[in-house]
């Protein structure tokens, strides 16, 4: 379009970003597919979007809160940017129970994706980061935007200046820290999106030791902690010494079906200090007060209801429903002779298609079974040859998907 340009230079960091964030790219392909096959019943096991209704005990609480906003006694204006005190306390007591996490160390947010960016703002452009490979894309993309990285290199599929820590079946999906370069910040997600692997206590102890030795900050994404089935740690703070090296982010999205409601939290321990001794929590508090105005009070009322004893039971049964889905999918792929990872402690199955490019597998699956998955390379070069299959879906869809996969692949 012929137009008048301003004389403002486009942010070079935005230019560095690769085209199309992964999930909008998949959504686009889904739309094209649906145009091509208008009568096909597409099943989406792609984006990890929750599908089951939120339990009544939680939504009633949100509805009541909304209604009360129409009354003189119940109306509330601005909330504390750090979150509603009762909710912060409930998170500390209910979800961190015997761990010494204080309510003042908890910052309620509108979800992990926003928290990751606020943390990057806090850290600034002069830090180096390490990420798992494969990994949830937002850690990398936010890093590029903030200016921590160099250019993207097509040959390797990596950005310069980021340390990629391969996570493969061979190393039990946990970085080999003996070959990992020192960086200021290490992003670790466990249970992992996309591989589904939950780090063991031993692996996390090594990680904490590594961070302590190198003076690094771990940003630990525990959004899927509720899916842990075995005795893998649910919080980095279960590991002694973590309070001086780690920040933990988490979310109600996959825990309570709050993907659209928007609620999460970040834990910044008092003991976490920058190199000059300045407490990280003070700076994070300032970021939250300047760049944010708190999560919606309605969403927070919902969060509080989730953490009541009735609420916990109710949301856990939805989590169990998805876990059963994951088992069905995992078993399906296994029965077809494929190597399947994850699925036990996470709502994702990570399926290996040796020798095949993941976008080709994605396309073939979509074309022949009308099932949307996620190509592993979308999570980094380490994801190549893999497909992520998400377990969020109505049971009948999961079962139908299984049937179609069995017909195609057997």
């Amino acid at each position: 379009m012929a137009g008048v340009c301003t004389r403002v230079t486009r942010n070079l960091n935005m230019e560095k970003l690769r085209n199309g964030y992964l999930f909008p790219e998949i959504a686009m392909r889904e739309l094209e597919h649906m145009k091509k096959y208008p009568t096909a019943k597409v099943i989406s096991l792609g984006i990890g979007d929750t599908t089951e209704p939120i339990p009544d005990v939680v939504t009633s609480s949100m509805a009541n809160h909304a209604r009360r906003l129409s009354t003189v006694e119940g109306y509330r204006g601005y909330g504390a940017e750090q979150g509603n005190k009762a909710l912060r306390k409930a998170i500390a007591e209910t979800l961190y129970g015997d761990l010494p996490i204080k309510d003042t160390e908890i910052f309620v947010s509108d979800g992990s994706q926003c928290d990751i960016s606020r943390l990057q703002l806090l850290l600034g452009s002069n830090v180096t980061i390490a990420v798992q490979d494969p990994t949830f894309p937002a850690y990398i993309d936010s890093s590029v935007i903030i200016g921590q990285t160099g250019d993207f290199q097509d040959e390797t599929g990596k950005y310069q200046n980021i340390e990629y820590m391969p996570c493969r079946p061979q190393n039990n999906f946990f970085p080999d820290l003996t070959t990992t370069a020192t960086t200021d910040v290490i992003f670790i997600c466990s249970p992992n999106n996309p591989t589904g692997h939950a780090a063991s206590r031993k692996q996390l102890e090594q990680l904490v030791e590594f961070a302590r030795a190198n003076g690094s900050i771990i940003i630990f994404d525990s959004a899927y902690a509720a899916y842990v089935t075995d005795d893998s740690p649910r919080s980095i703070f279960e590991i002694p010494g973590a309070r001086e090296v780690a920040i933990e982010i988490s979310s109600f999205s996959k825990f309570a079906g709050f993907t659209g409601v928007r609620l999460g939290w970040t834990v910044v321990p008092d003991e976490l200090l920058f190199s000059n001794g300045f407490p990280v929590i003070k700076d994070f508090n300032r970021i939250v007060c300047t760049c944010f105005n708190g999560a919606s009070s309605v969403a927070q009322a919902g969060g509080l209801a989730c953490l009541s004893s009735d609420g916990l039971m109710a949301v856990q049964s939805v989590v169990d429903y998805y876990k059963e889905n994951a088992k069905i999918l995992g078993d399906t792929f296994t029965s077809l002779g494929l190597d399947v990872y994850g699925g036990i402690n996470a709502p994702y199955a990570w399926v290996h298609f040796p020798g095949m490019k993941s976008w080709d597998v994605f396309t073939e699956l979509l074309e022949k079974t009308h099932i949307i998955t996620v190509p592993g390379c979308g999570f980094g070069p380490g994801g190549e040859e893999h497909i992520r299959v998400s377990a969020f879906g109505h049971r009948e869809c999961i079962l139908e998907a299984s049937r179609r996969l069995k017909s195609l692949l057997s």
């Binding site: 909008p24 204006g77 601005y78 926003c114 944010f292 708190g294 919606s296």
Partner: protein, 397 residues
């Protein structure tokens, strides 16, 4: 982060207020400080939210992730309600969790290598977010300004509109009208000059119109009423002060397709990418509330609440005027900007707090040109506003 001064203004005032309440436990503190809405949200709006909440418990009504740019219906409603005759469309509107978050997301998009201009005084988030992004130099205590920011003085002498002939070129210009804190609404003629200034300098205008509904005369309510604005401006707005959504969290940003970087790249494309990467959409329940706000019944209800606060503003204005003060703003905004010539605004703030137990906001918290002024916010129950005015009359008679 190390460059940022002390605490963000409003938590600092909250701290002083708490300290005051500890000192005077029976003090009956009235807050006309932070611009926090106080009146209940009209039922038609909260009903919309309650309905959505209940629907999330049903198979048919459950929805997960929404589009990061906002729900289609809401974007369309915002476009048609506020920008109908201005040829802006649904796709130009990005729904958010409020102006404060949007300002930061815009700053993240612009990056650290841009220069910015702000009004002096101005809403602190523009400056503070600029510091955090690394666009500024150090704070200079003697002038109370950050290096590299262009401060555009707005005072009674220039009718609270900057003398553009003395303003250096910057990449970004933040402009708020009706203004927080001065309450001044720029005229059509002034905004035409501002748009021309931006055009001549190839700058991007970030126009904060959060208080547009408070305009009582024919001052422009949107920058896009000015011809040519689409090639230079972004507009940020909010449901906070219209619908009492300060806690509910809902706002929007308009980025016209015609707004281009120097290399021709559309700014809206980058903003879309920012929104998709650093954000995950406003709460679907808040958005349902927003849609209810824009129904005919909702619009009427919002007008009533705005009218209530406008009446508060009149009461406060009359009070200070009758006491012989020079009073500004108020007519087109829920803020009254009272002049205390020769006095430090923190001192006036403290004196008012100590002697009348009323919390206001010291003008210097908004920038050096705010010193000598106090911002009195008109958000409050009628009884409290009347009582506060009574106390002001006693103190200053």
């Amino acid at each position: 982060m190390a460059k940022l001064q002390a605490g963000y203004l409003f938590p600092e005032i909250a701290r002083r207020r708490s300290a005051h309440m500890l000192k005077y436990p029976d003090g009956q503190v009235i807050s006309l400080g932070i611009g926090d809405t106080t009146e209940p949200i009209p039922e038609v709006i909260t009903f919309g939210m309650a309905k959505k909440a209940h629907a999330l418990s049903t198979l048919e009504g459950y929805s997960g992730y929404g589009a990061e740019q906002g729900e289609k219906q809401l974007r369309a409603a915002i476009a048609s309600t506020y920008y109908g005759d201005l040829s802006l469309e649904e796709s130009d509107i990005f729904v958010s969790d409020g102006a404060k978050s949007d300002i930061s997301r815009l700053q993240v998009m612009f990056g650290s290598n841009v220069t910015m201009a702000v009004q002096d005084p101005s809403y602190p988030a523009y400056v503070d977010s600029s510091v955090i992004l690394g666009q500024t130099g150090q704070f200079q205590k003697d002038v109370e300004k950050y290096r590299k920011i262009e401060y555009m003085k707005c005072n009674p002498e220039n009718g609270f509109f900057p003398d553009l002939s003395t303003v250096s070129r910057t990449d970004i210009i933040f402009f708020c009208s009706p203004n927080n804190p001065t309450g001044n609404a720029a005229t059509r003629e002034q905004l035409t000059r501002l748009v021309q200034f931006a055009k001549d300098n190839g700058s991007i205008l970030v126009y904060d119109s959060a208080y547009a509904m408070y305009i009582s005369d024919d001052s422009p309510r949107s920058i896009f009423e000015i011809p040519g604005a689409k090639e230079v401006a972004i507009e940020v707005s909010s449901f906070s002060k219209y619908a009492g959504f300060t806690g509910v969290r809902l706002g929007w940003t308009v980025v016209p397709k015609e707004l281009l970087y120097s290399d021709g790249f559309p700014v809206a494309k980058d903003f879309n990418r920012i929104v998709c990467t650093t954000f995950n959409g406003a709460s679907n329940i808040s958005q349902a509330g927003g849609l209810a706000c824009l129904s005919p019944e909702g619009l009427e209800a919002m007008h009533k609440v705005v009218g209530f606060y406008q009446e508060n503003t009149n009461i406060i204005m009359e009070t200070f005027t009758s006491l012989g003060f020079s009073v500004y703003g108020g007519k087109n905004a829920p803020y009254v900007w009272v002049h205390f010539p020769g006095q430090s605004s923190w001192d006036v703030f403290s004196e008012i707090l100590e002697k009348t137990h009323v919390v206001t906001t010291p003008g210097s918290g908004f920038g050096p040109a705010g010193d000598g002024f106090i911002r009195v916010s008109a958000f409050g129950h009628r009884g409290n506003v009347l009582e506060a005015c009574k106390r002001f009359k006693q103190l200053y008679k």
